[in-house]
């Protein structure tokens, strides 16, 4: 086995760091979105659903392009931020997190929404008649009972974030040691003929994905 170069080690660590951050953001953003889509009817329901799901079907480069339009140095949000602070998210590792989050979100939201919808509504109604607000009911009844689906969704989101390539390349670039995640490093290695490095990373990513899936499978059935 070839010794790992510092670039490879950094790419691998960056990937895990980005994927974990994106998964965390997915939990914070995606679970409330999934709940709202599952349980509430409101104006813009369809639009929100569409917006969240779109990255699943769009080519990742298209999603990446939209992210540049939104967050790039001359983007809709990016320009005011840049003018105010002199800082832009583009070509930082945060950009990789944003790209991975957006790309993983549909997987979490769709899985979590299905899990929440499968919770018997009478259980929630029972909690209301027992004096619990909708918020408390969601925290104490709906989400705990949807736990399996939420865990499965988060695992899928983590796996998707770990492998994100296209949108990351668009928004974060491929700066060695800074924004080069493992999938980008594999691409670079193959392009520059470093077959050994590519193979090593491919093997490690495959092993990591297997470990995550097996862990999730173990976790799943134990829940109520």
């Amino acid at each position: 086995m070839a010794a790992m170069s510092p670039e490879l080690v950094s790419a691998l660590f960056l990937s895990v760091q980005v994927a974990l951050s994106a998964t965390l953001l997915n939990a914070l953003l995606g679970i409330p979105i999934a709940y709202v889509l599952a349980r509430r009817r409101f104006w813009g329901h369809g639009l929100l659903d569409l917006l969240v799901t779109l990255p699943l079907v769009l080519p990742p480069t298209v999603t990446g392009y939209y992210l540049i339009v939104l967050l790039g140095r001359r983007g809709v949000l990016g320009q005011p931020i840049y003018e105010a602070t002199g800082w832009s998210i583009a070509f930082t590792w945060y950009a990789a997190v944003v790209a991975a989050t957006v790309m993983a979100l549909p997987l979490l939201v769709r899985t979590a929404r299905a899990a929440i919808e499968s919770v018997d509504r009478d259980l929630e109604r029972a909690a209301w008649t027992l004096g619990h607000s909708e918020w408390r009911t969601a925290l104490e009844v709906t989400l705990p009972l949807a736990r399996n689906g939420l865990v499965a969704g988060l695992v899928l989101a983590f796996a998707r974030a770990l492998g994100e390539f296209g949108a990351t390349l668009m928004l974060a670039g491929n700066i060695p040691g800074k924004t080069t995640t493992a999938p980008l490093a594999i691409y670079t290695a193959v392009q520059t003929g470093e077959r050994g490095e590519a193979l090593l990373l491919v093997g490690l990513l495959t092993a990591l994905s297997c470990v995550v899936l097996i862990a999730a499978g173990r976790l799943g059935p134990r829940a109520v």
Binding site: D122, L123, R125, A126, T129, G131, R136, V141, V224
Partner: protein, 380 residues
């Protein structure tokens, strides 16, 4: 007749629904009110409106003088603040909480010690203290019913609603739990509304019965009155009574009605509470409870006219074994179309009578119906 002087519960609801419109008004006092009727008559919708889980288009709901809903005044108390306990069809116990967790769920606003004390008290009173640490998945149907009742009763609600509380159970258990439920409701004394489509359940559980059909109330009465005086053919039909028949009036007086039916001249006691005096030749609805038709024994000599009135002759065309009783379908010895398909009357006899009289072998019988057992159904 038990008059309800101070109705604890006043309900008036109108709600447009996809399949029908609900438009009901009824009252209930202390004890248990049963909403009875076929599935899809609007009973569950009514409960959900009472609990605040569904919003009616119009109407008013008052419990013990407290207005929970008033469309005109724009009042709609949220379910969290109604103090209405709800026992759901299938119980809806929280599968991720223990029995104690379920029962204590509605007590979260109380201090920990008080909550614990109340939970223990409720569990002990319902005889399930030893199940406190079990999860609902590990309970029997009867234990689940008690946990569901305990959870709804623990916060001391002003009104308890039960939606088909026994429908999740199989038949033998159902009967035992029906009586247990009745005992528990009586012991706690909380005003309760029970929804059921089973007449026996309605009769056993309810002090007062409200009959629903297609989103309307077609009768509202103390249970004894309902059984003996269904307000109309519609009520008798909804109640699933057999032998709901139609004859022609000969003569009606305030205490007797004579009428013709299938070539027979029959006499019935007129309902004393309503002076129903239909003119001669007008149609007359009536019903005869199958267990009140008497077979006349062949080994007992001459008829006793005071004993045997409304005597008819017929032949058993079909018999159905219900275990402790047999139901016989009898066709009269009369030409013409039978009243109920291929038979005229349904007769229920205890198993022992069936065996002693050797009905299995002997198919032709004379039978009689006491005039007090023919119930006249005013047509309105």
């Amino acid at each position: 007749m038990t008059a309800v002087l101070t109705p604890r519960l006043q309900v008036r609801l109108r709600k447009r629904l996809p399949k029908f419109d609900l438009d009901v008004e009824w009252r209930a006092g202390d004890g248990v009110a049963v909403l009875f009727g076929p599935s899809g008559a609007g009973k569950t919708v009514t409960l959900q409106c009472l609990a605040g889980l569904m919003r009616p288009d119009a109407g008013r709901v008052v419990v013990d003088g407290r207005v929970l809903f008033d469309a005109d005044a724009g009042v709609s108390v949220p379910p969290q603040q109604r103090r209405v306990g709800y026992v759901f069809q299938g119980y809806a116990l929280f599968p991720h909480l223990t029995v104690a967790g379920n029962v204590g769920f509605g007590l979260r606003h109380r201090p920990r010690a008080a909550r614990q004390r109340r939970t223990e008290e409720v569990l002990t009173r319902l005889g399930i203290a030893d199940l406190a640490d079990r999860y609902p998945g590990a309970l029997s149907g009867g234990q689940r019913q008690r946990v569901a009742l305990g959870r709804a009763l623990a916060p001391d609600p002003a009104l308890l609603l039960l939606d088909e509380p026994l429908s999740a159970l199989d038949l033998p258990l159902r009967r035992a739990l029906r009586d247990e439920l009745r005992t528990i409701l009586a012991a706690w004394g909380t005003a309760a509304v029970v929804v059921t489509h089973d007449f026996t359940e309605a009769y056993r559980l309810g002090d007062r019965v409200v009959v629903y059909e297609d989103g309307r109330v077609i009768q509202e009465a103390p249970r004894a009155e309902l059984l003996w005086q269904p307000a109309s053919r519609a009520v008798a039909r909804v109640m699933g009574l057999s032998n709901v028949l139609q004859g022609t009036v000969l003569k009606a007086s305030p205490d007797r009605i004579q009428f013709r039916w299938r070539g027979q001249t029959l006499e019935a006691v007129n309902s004393p509470s309503r002076s129903y005096l239909p003119p001669p030749d007008s149609p007359l609805g009536f019903f005869v409870r199958p267990e009140y038709v008497r077979l006349i024994r062949k080994d007992r000599g001459a008829d006793d006219p005071t004993h045997h009135m409304n005597v008819m002759m017929g032949r058993v065309v079909r018999e159905i074994d219900f275990g402790t009783t047999w139901t016989l379908q009898i066709r009269l010895d009369e030409p013409g179309e039978p009243a109920q398909g291929d038979f005229d009357l349904e007769v229920e006899v205890p198993r022992l009578v069936y065996e002693i009289l050797e009905i299995e072998r002997d198919r032709r019988w004379r039978f009689s119906i006491h005039r007090g057992s023919i119930h006249v159904l005013p047509s309105s």
